[in-house]
Protein backbone atom coordinates (compact mmCIF):
# COMPACT_ATOMS: atom_id res chain seq x y z
CA UNK A 1 0.00 0.00 0.00
CA UNK A 2 1.21 3.45 -0.94
CA UNK A 3 1.21 6.02 1.84
CA UNK A 4 -0.62 9.34 1.38
CA UNK A 5 2.76 10.95 0.83
CA UNK A 6 3.77 8.56 -1.95
CA UNK A 7 0.42 8.90 -3.64
CA UNK A 8 0.50 12.67 -3.36
CA UNK A 9 3.97 12.81 -4.90
CA UNK A 10 2.80 10.69 -7.84
CA UNK A 11 -0.23 12.92 -8.42
CA UNK A 12 1.88 16.03 -8.06
CA UNK A 13 4.49 14.77 -10.54
CA UNK A 14 1.76 13.95 -13.01
CA UNK A 15 0.06 17.35 -12.61
CA UNK A 16 3.42 19.01 -13.29
CA UNK A 17 3.78 16.92 -16.42
CA UNK A 18 7.28 16.13 -15.14
CA UNK A 19 9.45 13.16 -16.17
CA UNK A 20 8.56 9.91 -14.42
CA UNK A 21 11.93 9.73 -12.75
CA UNK A 22 11.78 13.27 -11.34
CA UNK A 23 12.62 13.19 -7.67
CA UNK A 24 10.17 15.17 -5.56
CA UNK A 25 10.95 15.78 -1.89
CA UNK A 26 8.70 17.17 0.81
CA UNK A 27 11.04 20.10 1.47
CA UNK A 28 11.21 21.16 -2.21
CA UNK A 29 10.04 24.66 -3.04
CA UNK A 30 7.85 23.73 -5.97
CA UNK A 31 7.84 27.21 -7.48
CA UNK A 32 11.56 26.72 -8.17
CA UNK A 33 10.93 23.65 -10.36
CA UNK A 34 11.73 24.29 -14.00
CA UNK A 35 8.32 22.83 -14.93
CA UNK A 36 6.40 25.31 -12.72
CA UNK A 37 4.34 27.96 -14.53
CA UNK A 38 0.81 29.36 -14.49
CA UNK A 39 -0.59 26.43 -16.49
CA UNK A 40 0.98 23.81 -14.21
CA UNK A 41 -0.47 25.75 -11.29
CA UNK A 42 -3.96 25.23 -12.74
CA UNK A 43 -3.25 21.51 -13.25
CA UNK A 44 -2.18 21.19 -9.62
CA UNK A 45 -5.38 22.93 -8.38
CA UNK A 46 -7.43 20.66 -10.64
CA UNK A 47 -5.56 17.56 -9.40
CA UNK A 48 -6.12 18.48 -5.73
CA UNK A 49 -9.81 18.97 -6.45
CA UNK A 50 -10.23 15.65 -8.32
CA UNK A 51 -8.09 13.49 -6.08
CA UNK A 52 -8.91 14.95 -2.66
CA UNK A 53 -12.13 16.93 -3.22
CA UNK A 54 -10.34 19.97 -1.81
CA UNK A 55 -10.21 23.44 -3.37
CA UNK A 56 -7.46 25.82 -2.31
CA UNK A 57 -8.05 29.40 -3.44
CA UNK A 58 -5.31 31.70 -4.76
CA UNK A 59 -4.87 33.67 -1.53
CA UNK A 60 -4.27 30.54 0.54
CA UNK A 61 -2.17 28.87 -2.15
CA UNK A 62 0.22 31.84 -2.20
CA UNK A 63 1.10 31.16 1.44
CA UNK A 64 2.20 27.60 0.70
CA UNK A 65 5.88 27.21 -0.19
CA UNK A 66 6.86 23.56 -0.19
CA UNK A 67 5.52 20.24 -1.46
CA UNK A 68 5.11 19.11 2.16
CA UNK A 69 3.28 22.34 3.03
CA UNK A 70 0.84 21.70 0.23
CA UNK A 71 0.22 18.13 1.36
CA UNK A 72 -0.37 19.33 4.93
CA UNK A 73 -2.90 21.91 3.73
CA UNK A 74 -4.76 19.19 1.83
CA UNK A 75 -4.67 16.85 4.84
CA UNK A 76 -6.21 19.61 7.01
CA UNK A 77 -9.01 20.20 4.53
CA UNK A 78 -9.94 16.66 3.54
CA UNK A 79 -13.60 16.09 4.26
CA UNK A 80 -14.00 13.10 6.53
Amino acid sequence: MQTMMEKFIDHFREALDAAEGKEIKMEDRFRDYEEWDSLRYLSVIAMIDSEYDVIIDTTDFRKIETVGGLMEEIRKRIKT
Binding site: S38, L42, I45, A46, S50, I56
Partner: protein, 352 residues
Protein backbone atom coordinates in the same frame (compact mmCIF):
# COMPACT_ATOMS: atom_id res chain seq x y z
CA UNK B 1 -32.60 32.14 -4.14
CA UNK B 2 -32.14 33.44 -7.68
CA UNK B 3 -34.30 30.82 -9.31
CA UNK B 4 -36.80 31.62 -12.04
CA UNK B 5 -39.36 29.78 -14.09
CA UNK B 6 -40.42 31.68 -17.19
CA UNK B 7 -43.43 30.63 -19.20
CA UNK B 8 -44.92 31.40 -22.62
CA UNK B 9 -41.66 32.20 -24.42
CA UNK B 10 -39.80 30.37 -27.16
CA UNK B 11 -36.41 30.80 -28.75
CA UNK B 12 -37.13 31.18 -32.48
CA UNK B 13 -33.65 31.51 -33.89
CA UNK B 14 -29.96 32.02 -33.15
CA UNK B 15 -27.14 33.33 -35.34
CA UNK B 16 -23.48 34.22 -34.88
CA UNK B 17 -20.93 36.37 -36.68
CA UNK B 18 -17.12 36.39 -36.37
CA UNK B 19 -14.39 38.49 -38.00
CA UNK B 20 -12.65 36.85 -40.98
CA UNK B 21 -9.16 37.31 -39.57
CA UNK B 22 -7.80 34.07 -38.10
CA UNK B 23 -4.84 34.21 -35.73
CA UNK B 24 -2.99 31.03 -34.80
CA UNK B 25 -1.60 30.53 -31.31
CA UNK B 26 1.16 28.21 -32.46
CA UNK B 27 3.08 31.02 -34.14
CA UNK B 28 2.04 33.75 -31.75
CA UNK B 29 4.84 36.11 -30.63
CA UNK B 30 3.21 36.25 -27.17
CA UNK B 31 4.95 32.96 -26.39
CA UNK B 32 8.67 33.01 -25.83
CA UNK B 33 9.15 29.66 -27.58
CA UNK B 34 7.33 27.13 -29.75
CA UNK B 35 7.47 24.79 -26.78
CA UNK B 36 5.53 27.30 -24.62
CA UNK B 37 2.93 27.65 -27.36
CA UNK B 38 2.50 23.87 -27.66
CA UNK B 39 2.10 23.56 -23.89
CA UNK B 40 -0.48 26.35 -23.89
CA UNK B 41 -2.47 24.70 -26.68
CA UNK B 42 -2.44 21.27 -25.04
CA UNK B 43 -3.80 22.69 -21.74
CA UNK B 44 -6.28 25.25 -23.06
CA UNK B 45 -7.20 23.52 -26.33
CA UNK B 46 -7.18 26.92 -28.06
CA UNK B 47 -5.47 26.63 -31.46
CA UNK B 48 -6.73 29.74 -33.17
CA UNK B 49 -8.97 32.75 -32.67
CA UNK B 50 -10.80 35.41 -34.65
CA UNK B 51 -9.70 39.00 -34.22
CA UNK B 52 -11.70 42.08 -35.14
CA UNK B 53 -9.82 44.77 -37.05
CA UNK B 54 -9.88 48.37 -35.79
CA UNK B 55 -13.01 49.18 -37.79
CA UNK B 56 -15.14 46.29 -36.45
CA UNK B 57 -17.06 46.81 -33.19
CA UNK B 58 -19.19 44.36 -31.21
CA UNK B 59 -22.25 46.11 -32.60
CA UNK B 60 -21.10 45.41 -36.19
CA UNK B 61 -20.79 41.69 -35.50
CA UNK B 62 -24.21 41.65 -33.80
CA UNK B 63 -25.75 43.77 -36.56
CA UNK B 64 -24.70 41.26 -39.22
CA UNK B 65 -25.89 38.32 -37.11
CA UNK B 66 -29.26 40.06 -36.60
CA UNK B 67 -29.77 41.03 -40.25
CA UNK B 68 -29.26 37.46 -41.39
CA UNK B 69 -31.45 35.96 -38.68
CA UNK B 70 -34.34 38.40 -39.11
CA UNK B 71 -34.19 37.69 -42.86
CA UNK B 72 -34.24 33.90 -42.47
CA UNK B 73 -37.05 34.06 -39.91
CA UNK B 74 -38.98 36.34 -42.23
CA UNK B 75 -39.83 38.63 -39.33
CA UNK B 76 -41.37 42.02 -40.02
CA UNK B 77 -39.02 44.48 -38.30
CA UNK B 78 -41.94 46.65 -37.22
CA UNK B 79 -43.08 43.78 -35.00
CA UNK B 80 -39.85 43.67 -32.95
CA UNK B 81 -40.98 45.18 -29.64
CA UNK B 82 -37.75 45.01 -27.68
CA UNK B 83 -34.00 45.04 -28.25
CA UNK B 84 -31.47 44.14 -25.54
CA UNK B 85 -27.76 44.53 -26.26
CA UNK B 86 -25.21 42.96 -23.91
CA UNK B 87 -21.52 43.81 -24.21
CA UNK B 88 -18.44 45.05 -22.38
CA UNK B 89 -17.14 46.75 -25.52
CA UNK B 90 -19.83 49.26 -26.58
CA UNK B 91 -19.45 51.73 -29.46
CA UNK B 92 -19.26 54.72 -27.08
CA UNK B 93 -19.41 55.37 -23.34
CA UNK B 94 -22.52 57.45 -24.12
CA UNK B 95 -25.10 56.69 -25.50
CA UNK B 96 -26.29 53.09 -25.21
CA UNK B 97 -25.30 51.10 -28.30
CA UNK B 98 -28.79 49.49 -28.41
CA UNK B 99 -30.16 52.89 -29.53
CA UNK B 100 -27.70 52.96 -32.43
CA UNK B 101 -28.64 49.38 -33.35
CA UNK B 102 -32.38 50.19 -33.23
CA UNK B 103 -31.84 52.74 -35.98
CA UNK B 104 -29.34 50.69 -37.97
CA UNK B 105 -31.59 47.63 -38.00
CA UNK B 106 -34.57 49.73 -39.07
CA UNK B 107 -36.58 48.87 -35.95
CA UNK B 108 -39.57 50.90 -34.86
CA UNK B 109 -39.07 53.99 -32.70
CA UNK B 110 -41.53 52.25 -30.32
CA UNK B 111 -38.92 49.49 -29.73
CA UNK B 112 -38.00 49.14 -26.03
CA UNK B 113 -34.16 49.25 -26.22
CA UNK B 114 -31.37 49.14 -23.65
CA UNK B 115 -27.81 47.93 -22.93
CA UNK B 116 -26.55 45.62 -20.21
CA UNK B 117 -22.92 45.26 -19.08
CA UNK B 118 -22.03 41.70 -18.22
CA UNK B 119 -19.21 39.34 -19.18
CA UNK B 120 -19.26 35.62 -19.87
CA UNK B 121 -22.58 35.08 -18.05
CA UNK B 122 -24.17 37.59 -20.47
CA UNK B 123 -26.00 35.40 -22.98
CA UNK B 124 -27.69 33.16 -20.39
CA UNK B 125 -28.65 36.26 -18.39
CA UNK B 126 -29.93 37.82 -21.60
CA UNK B 127 -32.17 34.85 -22.40
CA UNK B 128 -33.67 35.09 -18.89
CA UNK B 129 -34.16 38.87 -19.22
CA UNK B 130 -35.72 38.63 -22.67
CA UNK B 131 -37.85 35.74 -21.41
CA UNK B 132 -39.17 37.91 -18.57
CA UNK B 133 -39.90 40.80 -20.95
CA UNK B 134 -41.92 38.59 -23.29
CA UNK B 135 -43.70 36.24 -20.90
CA UNK B 136 -46.74 38.43 -20.23
CA UNK B 137 -47.41 38.91 -23.94
CA UNK B 138 -47.26 42.73 -23.81
CA UNK B 139 -44.15 42.47 -25.97
CA UNK B 140 -44.49 39.79 -28.64
CA UNK B 141 -41.10 39.65 -30.33
CA UNK B 142 -37.66 40.40 -28.93
CA UNK B 143 -34.13 40.63 -30.28
CA UNK B 144 -31.26 39.78 -27.94
CA UNK B 145 -27.86 40.89 -29.23
CA UNK B 146 -24.84 39.66 -27.33
CA UNK B 147 -21.24 40.17 -28.40
CA UNK B 148 -17.82 41.44 -27.61
CA UNK B 149 -14.59 42.45 -29.32
CA UNK B 150 -12.79 41.23 -26.25
CA UNK B 151 -9.36 41.05 -27.92
CA UNK B 152 -9.27 44.86 -28.04
CA UNK B 153 -9.01 45.04 -24.26
CA UNK B 154 -6.02 42.69 -23.96
CA UNK B 155 -2.34 43.56 -23.94
CA UNK B 156 -0.70 41.70 -26.85
CA UNK B 157 2.23 40.78 -24.58
CA UNK B 158 0.10 39.34 -21.77
CA UNK B 159 0.24 35.59 -22.16
CA UNK B 160 -2.22 35.13 -19.28
CA UNK B 161 -5.01 36.73 -21.35
CA UNK B 162 -4.09 37.55 -24.96
CA UNK B 163 -3.93 34.03 -26.49
CA UNK B 164 -7.14 32.89 -24.75
CA UNK B 165 -9.70 35.25 -26.27
CA UNK B 166 -11.50 35.73 -29.56
CA UNK B 167 -14.12 38.13 -30.94
CA UNK B 168 -17.72 37.27 -31.88
CA UNK B 169 -21.24 38.68 -31.94
CA UNK B 170 -24.57 36.87 -31.83
CA UNK B 171 -28.30 37.43 -32.29
CA UNK B 172 -31.09 35.49 -30.59
CA UNK B 173 -34.72 35.97 -31.57
CA UNK B 174 -37.36 35.11 -28.98
CA UNK B 175 -41.13 35.43 -29.02
CA UNK B 176 -44.27 35.15 -26.93
CA UNK B 177 -45.68 31.65 -27.39
CA UNK B 178 -48.26 30.25 -24.93
CA UNK B 179 -47.51 26.69 -26.07
CA UNK B 180 -43.80 26.85 -25.31
CA UNK B 181 -42.43 24.74 -22.44
CA UNK B 182 -41.15 26.78 -19.45
CA UNK B 183 -37.54 27.99 -19.21
CA UNK B 184 -35.74 27.69 -15.89
CA UNK B 185 -32.85 29.78 -14.62
CA UNK B 186 -30.51 29.89 -11.66
CA UNK B 187 -28.15 32.88 -11.30
CA UNK B 188 -25.45 33.97 -8.87
CA UNK B 189 -23.16 36.93 -8.14
CA UNK B 190 -20.04 37.44 -6.01
CA UNK B 191 -18.97 41.08 -6.26
CA UNK B 192 -16.37 40.65 -3.51
CA UNK B 193 -14.18 39.26 -6.32
CA UNK B 194 -14.80 42.01 -8.87
CA UNK B 195 -11.07 42.63 -9.29
CA UNK B 196 -10.37 39.06 -10.38
CA UNK B 197 -11.39 40.10 -13.93
CA UNK B 198 -10.85 43.81 -14.19
CA UNK B 199 -9.88 46.86 -16.24
CA UNK B 200 -8.72 49.47 -13.69
CA UNK B 201 -8.96 52.79 -15.59
CA UNK B 202 -11.12 54.42 -18.22
CA UNK B 203 -14.51 54.82 -16.55
CA UNK B 204 -15.38 57.04 -13.59
CA UNK B 205 -13.92 55.34 -10.48
CA UNK B 206 -10.48 55.75 -12.05
CA UNK B 207 -10.85 58.10 -15.02
CA UNK B 208 -8.31 57.94 -17.84
CA UNK B 209 -5.19 59.99 -17.17
CA UNK B 210 -1.85 60.14 -18.97
CA UNK B 211 -0.59 57.54 -16.48
CA UNK B 212 -3.30 55.11 -17.61
CA UNK B 213 -1.29 54.61 -20.80
CA UNK B 214 2.01 53.77 -19.10
CA UNK B 215 2.92 50.19 -19.85
CA UNK B 216 4.29 48.35 -16.86
CA UNK B 217 6.16 45.08 -16.89
CA UNK B 218 4.19 42.93 -14.44
CA UNK B 219 6.34 39.85 -14.95
CA UNK B 220 9.17 39.08 -17.39
CA UNK B 221 7.82 39.54 -20.91
CA UNK B 222 4.32 40.61 -19.75
CA UNK B 223 3.49 44.31 -20.08
CA UNK B 224 0.15 45.95 -19.51
CA UNK B 225 -1.30 49.44 -19.08
CA UNK B 226 -4.21 50.45 -16.84
CA UNK B 227 -6.72 50.46 -19.69
CA UNK B 228 -6.08 46.78 -20.33
CA UNK B 229 -7.70 43.68 -18.94
CA UNK B 230 -6.23 41.94 -15.88
CA UNK B 231 -7.20 38.40 -15.00
CA UNK B 232 -6.21 36.43 -11.93
CA UNK B 233 -6.18 33.07 -13.72
CA UNK B 234 -5.90 30.95 -10.57
CA UNK B 235 -8.84 32.66 -8.86
CA UNK B 236 -10.97 32.43 -12.01
CA UNK B 237 -10.13 28.75 -12.30
CA UNK B 238 -11.12 28.01 -8.70
CA UNK B 239 -14.39 29.93 -9.22
CA UNK B 240 -15.12 28.17 -12.51
CA UNK B 241 -14.73 24.65 -11.20
CA UNK B 242 -16.85 25.44 -8.12
CA UNK B 243 -19.83 27.71 -8.86
CA UNK B 244 -20.97 26.60 -12.35
CA UNK B 245 -21.26 22.87 -11.49
CA UNK B 246 -23.04 23.81 -8.24
CA UNK B 247 -25.43 26.07 -10.13
CA UNK B 248 -26.18 23.39 -12.73
CA UNK B 249 -26.95 20.88 -9.97
CA UNK B 250 -29.20 23.35 -8.14
CA UNK B 251 -31.11 24.20 -11.30
CA UNK B 252 -31.63 20.60 -12.40
CA UNK B 253 -32.88 19.71 -8.95
CA UNK B 254 -35.25 22.71 -8.81
CA UNK B 255 -36.57 22.11 -12.31
CA UNK B 256 -36.80 18.37 -11.51
CA UNK B 257 -34.98 17.42 -14.70
CA UNK B 258 -32.97 14.20 -14.90
CA UNK B 259 -29.62 14.16 -16.68
CA UNK B 260 -30.91 11.54 -19.18
CA UNK B 261 -33.34 14.16 -20.48
CA UNK B 262 -30.59 16.58 -21.44
CA UNK B 263 -29.50 16.42 -25.08
CA UNK B 264 -26.61 18.87 -24.75
CA UNK B 265 -24.79 20.90 -22.14
CA UNK B 266 -23.66 24.18 -23.69
CA UNK B 267 -21.09 25.59 -21.29
CA UNK B 268 -19.23 28.87 -21.57
CA UNK B 269 -16.11 28.08 -23.60
CA UNK B 270 -13.46 29.39 -21.22
CA UNK B 271 -10.91 26.79 -22.33
CA UNK B 272 -10.39 23.01 -22.41
CA UNK B 273 -9.14 22.43 -18.87
CA UNK B 274 -12.03 24.41 -17.32
CA UNK B 275 -14.76 22.90 -19.49
CA UNK B 276 -13.51 19.35 -18.94
CA UNK B 277 -13.15 19.89 -15.22
CA UNK B 278 -16.75 21.13 -14.93
CA UNK B 279 -18.00 18.16 -16.97
CA UNK B 280 -16.01 15.79 -14.77
CA UNK B 281 -17.65 17.21 -11.63
CA UNK B 282 -21.08 16.75 -13.18
CA UNK B 283 -20.16 13.31 -14.57
CA UNK B 284 -21.30 14.45 -18.00
CA UNK B 285 -19.58 12.68 -20.95
CA UNK B 286 -17.63 15.08 -23.18
CA UNK B 287 -19.72 14.22 -26.28
CA UNK B 288 -22.76 15.78 -24.56
CA UNK B 289 -20.95 19.09 -24.28
CA UNK B 290 -20.06 20.56 -27.69
CA UNK B 291 -17.11 22.95 -27.91
CA UNK B 292 -15.86 25.84 -30.02
CA UNK B 293 -12.78 26.98 -28.08
CA UNK B 294 -10.43 25.06 -30.42
CA UNK B 295 -11.06 27.40 -33.36
CA UNK B 296 -12.50 30.52 -31.73
CA UNK B 297 -10.97 30.73 -28.22
CA UNK B 298 -12.91 32.17 -25.32
CA UNK B 299 -15.43 34.46 -27.04
CA UNK B 300 -16.78 35.79 -23.74
CA UNK B 301 -20.59 36.12 -23.63
CA UNK B 302 -20.88 34.99 -27.27
CA UNK B 303 -19.35 31.59 -26.62
CA UNK B 304 -22.55 29.59 -25.99
CA UNK B 305 -24.58 30.68 -29.04
CA UNK B 306 -21.39 30.52 -31.16
CA UNK B 307 -20.87 26.90 -30.05
CA UNK B 308 -24.49 26.09 -30.85
CA UNK B 309 -24.08 27.42 -34.40
CA UNK B 310 -20.64 25.98 -35.13
CA UNK B 311 -21.05 22.57 -33.48
CA UNK B 312 -24.76 21.64 -33.50
CA UNK B 313 -26.51 23.78 -36.12
CA UNK B 314 -28.17 20.87 -37.94
CA UNK B 315 -29.48 19.35 -34.71
CA UNK B 316 -30.93 22.67 -33.61
CA UNK B 317 -32.66 23.15 -36.95
CA UNK B 318 -33.98 19.60 -37.33
CA UNK B 319 -34.99 18.55 -33.82
CA UNK B 320 -36.40 19.40 -30.46
CA UNK B 321 -33.65 19.61 -27.84
CA UNK B 322 -33.48 19.95 -24.07
CA UNK B 323 -30.46 22.03 -23.20
CA UNK B 324 -28.51 23.11 -20.17
CA UNK B 325 -26.80 26.45 -20.82
CA UNK B 326 -24.29 27.85 -18.34
CA UNK B 327 -22.25 31.08 -18.53
CA UNK B 328 -19.77 32.25 -15.88
CA UNK B 329 -17.10 34.95 -15.55
CA UNK B 330 -16.38 38.57 -14.66
CA UNK B 331 -18.31 40.10 -11.79
CA UNK B 332 -18.05 37.43 -10.62
CA UNK B 333 -21.33 36.44 -12.22
CA UNK B 334 -22.81 33.13 -13.30
CA UNK B 335 -26.08 31.96 -14.83
CA UNK B 336 -27.52 28.57 -15.73
CA UNK B 337 -30.60 27.85 -17.80
CA UNK B 338 -32.65 24.81 -18.72
CA UNK B 339 -34.34 25.55 -22.04
CA UNK B 340 -36.01 23.62 -24.83
CA UNK B 341 -35.43 24.53 -28.46
CA UNK B 342 -37.83 23.24 -31.09
CA UNK B 343 -36.70 23.33 -34.73
CA UNK B 344 -35.20 26.79 -34.47
CA UNK B 345 -33.83 28.87 -37.32
CA UNK B 346 -30.01 28.94 -37.40
CA UNK B 347 -28.23 30.57 -40.32
CA UNK B 348 -24.72 29.30 -41.01
CA UNK B 349 -21.87 31.12 -39.28
CA UNK B 350 -21.40 34.60 -40.76
CA UNK B 351 -17.92 36.00 -41.38
CA UNK B 352 -17.18 39.67 -42.06
Amino acid sequence: MAYQKIENVRISGISACVPKTVVSNLNSPVFLSGDDAAKFISTTGIKERRIASADICSSDLCYNAAEKLIGELGWDRKEIDCLVFITQTPDYIVPATSCILQDRLGLSSECYSFDITLGCSGWVYGVSIMGSLLSTGCFRKGLLLVGETTTKTKSPTDKSTFPLFGDAGTATCMEYSPKAPPMYFHTGTDGSKHKVIYIPDGAFRNPTTLQSLNSEEVEPGVTRNRLQYIMDGGAVFVFSITKPPQSIKILMEKAAVASEKIDYYFLHQANKIMVEKILGKLKVPVDKAPTSYESFGNTSMSSIPLTMITAKRTDLVQSRLNLIICGFGGGLSWATGYVTTDHIVCPELIEI
